[in-house]
Structures are given as structure tokens and as C-alpha cells.
Symmetry: C2
Subunit: 318 residues, 2 copies
């Protein structure tokens, strides 16, 4: 039971969360997770009330062997009606690999970095080259009836270049919107965002990008992830990405730690009176199963502490 | 180098942080830390620019043996001018023990819980009995020229009773203020606060308690601690308590995890353009020393990731 909340502020009543753990999380695990385990974990996650999930990535298997089983995962999972399934594709070759399984997913994710140096280190291209490469992916995916999200990494700071000009991020977002992209994710890839910056950023981006769904993708690298999520929420953002157990990160640079934990985000939002549609207990059970597979404790605080009403279920004095 | 920050919002320009790790943190460690180590760690912490520190507690040594060396710690530490040293006293007997060392500290902390059940489990008294017991401690401490902070635990929720009425918390705070207490800390002892609630709470408390310094004491039990700190900041709060390495917790109930990490709080505030006077690098070095003594990784994210400009020092491309 959450405390009764004031209703005189104007936070969104509902948000949507895309669970990115099966892609962003599993990709960053040092050991490749067995396909059987992935399938079992995804089948469990999609039954927690989550309605968007990023399943895998069609990257080169020699570059990211952790996701080399993308086709098999897509084929074998059992996802209920109403859950939107997305796959990441780095380029047209990735899309070529994904499209034979068109009926097994609903959304495509594409990505680039706002910072030239990070984009170069991550995909060995200039930002404009990445944009040029994304355009045909967007066109072909949309021709197949797929929803497209474009994620702009290092939107709030670059570990190599430092500050990233928010006007430049909006400019890149504008180019993506002009291609017809209807959802743009802003990634704080290495946890450099702060709440003051985020609130301003999302307010300005909403004004600059009417009709585009703006998605917040924060990492908890320095513990500020949920504070940034609240700042985005206060600026009107209603779409978030997170990963069970705070898994995830970024291949470059080393030390870039995980996404905000879905469990902690959901716990906080529910306590704030913001609905997510997710059953927190079912999600914690699913995360515990992930923990079992990985054989180590995950980084979610709520997974350790339990939901706020744990003691009531445990028979503590009411 | 933090990004240039907008100046059109009205966040406080400066806040003060009281480091509570030597008391709240060390008290909750299963193994008692050697006095030599405590002294060395405190001597290091007080040289990071922190200007308030809670050093120990004069609780019964048989109840909390981890702090049985309170007198020795106070006698041996070397704290520079300008750093305000506080000790926690649970009752007059605690004050009796502390006062012979009057020259070795500047502040006294007293505490009770807003929730009857938590207060009963923690100190085996009704809230009114605790208030009655606090009154003479405040009077005697102030007669000695000591600053007094009263902390109200479970101000944002109780693990046994659930919701805590904010009007009741303000009422207790009002009684403390009437005793002459000039600083009241509001403790989210078991991490049940959410940012929406916190913002409203601090705005209302500031209106109800003019002239009293209101201090926010959040735990990161469910990962929401920094989000709550930002909410308090946005409501005008300028005084925070935190613990290096996310150490700390509460003796009851089990599973109540640590305070917000000072490192993460300082990193976030500095990035937001809010000054603390603390040298983050020196603080991280001190936390690393604590880590060495405890022999396990601490829970601060910034301690793992490094400060936001770490790569520049590491010679990464500028």
C-alpha cells in the first residue's frame, strides 16, 4: 500500500517502460548466457505486466558473441499478446538478418552517439555517416510496418569529449524525426547526466520535437539514475528504458556501469502514484531468476530490501 | 569540469553535508572496527572539506559494542578548526558519559521515531516518553553551549505501521522546536520515502517550522535516495546527512540498508552546480581507505565509476 499522494502537481499518471535487460544487460555480461536460460528468463519477464521489451541485437556475432543467438531467441520465446517486442539493428545488414523473422518482433531500434569521439569508438563512423546509414534502415523497417526507435547515446555527456551541446543533440534528433522516426531515446550512456540538466533537456526537447515520443534511457553509473528519471518525469517524459538488476552498460569505455534498475524505477514510480502496469512482485521474482542464472547478486536495491510492504506480507505487526 | 548549468531555476547555491559514516556506518558493521582504524579514517575524512561529521554515539556498550570506544575515538582524533563534530546521545546517561569530553565535540544528536511501533522496537518507549526524555538532554547540552540536532526517524514511513502522517511528524518537530532545538533531521530510516512525498513534506515543514534548520536524512534502501535528496533540495532544503560508501542502516528491522552515499550525493550536487565545499577526489580516496579496512567493496557508485572527469586525468582524448 503506497501512501496517499498529493494530486496538485502535474506528474504524468502513467508511464511506459521498455525493459532492455535481455539486450543491454546480457550483451554486457562477460560470460555468454545459454539460450535456454535467455528464453526462460524472457518468457518470465514478459509476464510481469511489462509491455515493451528489447529482446536482442542483430550485431555481428564475432563482435558481440553474447547475442549470437538472436534468431534462436526470437524463434523460441513465447510472448503474450500486447507486449511490444523490439530488436536492435546496427545497420542494414542487421536488418537483413532480422527481417526473415519479421513476425517475431514489432519494433526496431537503431542507434548512434551524439559525440563524434564516442560514435567513432563505438561504431567507427562519423555521426553524419551514422545518420546516413540509419536512413535506409528506418525506411525499410517502416515499410515492413515496424515501429522504429532511434537512440542517441552520450546525449548528456561524453566520457571522451566531456560536455555535449544539447542543441547538437536536438539537431541530430531533428534529422532522425525528419526521416520519420517517431520515437527517440536519449541515452546517458556513461552516467554523466544530472537532474538539473535532464529537466531542462526534456523540456526543451519536447518543445523542439512535437509529435515524437521522447524516451529517457539513464544509466546509474554514479547513483543518480533515479534522480534523473524523476527530473525527466517532471519535465513531462512518459517513456523510460531500464534493465532488471541494474544490468547493462556500454562496451566503451570500460567501467561504464549499468542501466537504472527496473525494479527500483517501478518501486519509486508506484510509490509516487505513477502507474506502470508492472507487477513489482512478479518482476522481483523474475530478477531473482536472472540472479540465479548469473550466479551473483544483481545491483537492484529493491531486490535486496524487498518492496515497501514486504513486512506486511511477512506477518510483521500492522 | 561540470557542464554549464542553467541559472533560471532557484535551487540553493550551497548545501551543508553532515557525514554520519563513523557513527551510522560503523555502528551497523557486523564486526567491530579497530579504534586505530576509526581514528585514521576520521582524520582522513575531516580533511576532505566536509565541515560537519557525526563521530560516534554514547549508547550502552553492551547494546552497541561497535561504538564502545566512543571516548577513545573522541580523545584521539585530530580534527581541523572549522569542522563541527557531533556525537549521538540516546539519553541523559549518554550525555553524562559525553560531557567530560566536552571540548572534543561541538554538537549533540538526539533521536526518536515518529512511529510508535518503531520507537518501541528501537528504544522501548512511547514517543511521548522519548520526547520527555529528550527535553533535559537538550537543556543541559545547550547550557554547555552545544548545538543540538534532533532526528525524527521513520518520518516518511514505518516498516511496521506503514504510512506515517506528515502532520504527526510536524507536531513532533514542533515539540522539539519548542524545547529550543534549532536543527531537526527527518530520517527515512528504512527507505520508504518517494520524491513526490519528500518535496511536499519539506515545503510544508519549512512553513511550519520557521527558524529551524531542516535536515534531510535519506537511506538508499530501494535506490531512491538521491532522487529524494533532489526533491528536498528543490523544496529549499540546504542540509543533508549521508554516509561514505552507502554504509549504515538501522538496527530494526533487519534488511534496512544504508544511507545515501556521500560520494554520490557530492558528485550529483557538484554536477548540478550546487556547492558542498567537499573535494570529491579526496573523499573518494578516504572511502577507498574505508573499503580497505572493511575488506569489501562499498556501495557507492561513484567509487566504482570514478568522478565524471576521471578519463581526462587518465589521459583519454580531450
Amino acid at each position: 500500500m503506497a501512501p496517499e499522494q498529493p494530486t496538485d502537481d502535474d506528474l504524468p499518471a502513467t508511464v511506459r517502460i521498455r525493459e532492455v535487460g535481455p539486450r543491454d544487460g546480457f550483451q554486457n555480461e562477460p560470460e555468454r548466457i545459454a539460450t535456454d536460460d535467455k528464453v526462460a528468463l524472457i518468457d518470465r519477464l514478459v509476464r510481469t505486466g511489462i509491455d515493451r521489451i528489447e529482446l536482442t541485437s542483430f550485431v555481428r556475432p564475432d563482435v558481440i558473441p553474447q547475442l549470437a543467438d538472436a534468431e534462436e531467441v526470437l524463434r523460441r520465446i513465447d510472448v503474450p499478446e500486447g507486449v511490444s517486442r523490439s530488436v536492435l539493428v546496427p545497420n542494414e545488414r542487421g536488418l537483413d538478418r532480422a527481417l526473415p523473422l519479421r513476425e517475431r518482433f514489432d519494433e526496431v531500434g537503431v542507434f548512434l552517439s551524439a559525440s563524434e569521439t564516442h560514435n567513432r569508438k563505438n561504431v567507427n563512423r562519423a555521426v553524419q555517416e551514422s545518420l546516413a546509414g540509419i536512413a535506409p534502415v528506418v525506411a525499410r523497417a517502416q515499410a515492413e510496418g515496424l515501429h522504429v526507435e532511434a537512440v542517441i547515446a552520450t546525449s548528456f555527456g561524453c566520457p571522451y569529449e566531456g560536455d555535449v551541446d544539447p542543441a547538437r543533440v536536438r539537431e541530430i534528433a531533428g534529422e532522425l524525426a525528419a526521416m520519420g522516426v517517431t520515437e527517440i531515446g536519449f541515452g546517458d550512456t556513461t552516467g554523466m547526466a544530472n537532474p538539473r540538466q535532464v529537466r531542462r533537456f526534456f523540456a526543451d526537447a519536447a518543445a523542439a520535437l512535437p509529435g515524437v515520443l521522447l524516451t529517457a534511457h539513464f544509466h546509474n553509473t554514479r547513483g543518480q539514475g533515479l534522480a534523473n528519471a524523476v527530473a525527466a518525469l517532471e519535465a513531462g517524459c512518459t517513456s523510460f528504458e531500464s534493465s532488471f538488476g541494474e544490468l547493462g552498460g556500454c562496451p566503451v569505455p570500460k567501467g561504464a556501469t549499468g542501466n537504472i534498475a527496473t525494479e527500483d524505477l517501478v518501486s519509486m514510480l508506484h510509490e509516487m502514484g505513477v502507474a506502470t502496469g508492472i507487477d513489482l512482485r512478479a518482476l522481483l521474482d523474475a530478477s531473482r531468476a536472472v540472479q540465479g542464472v548469473l550466479g551473483r547478486p544483481l545491483g537492484s536495491h529493491t531486490l535486496v530490501a524487498g518492496p515497501i510492504d514486504w513486512h506486511r506480507d511477512a506477518g510483521a505487526p500492522a
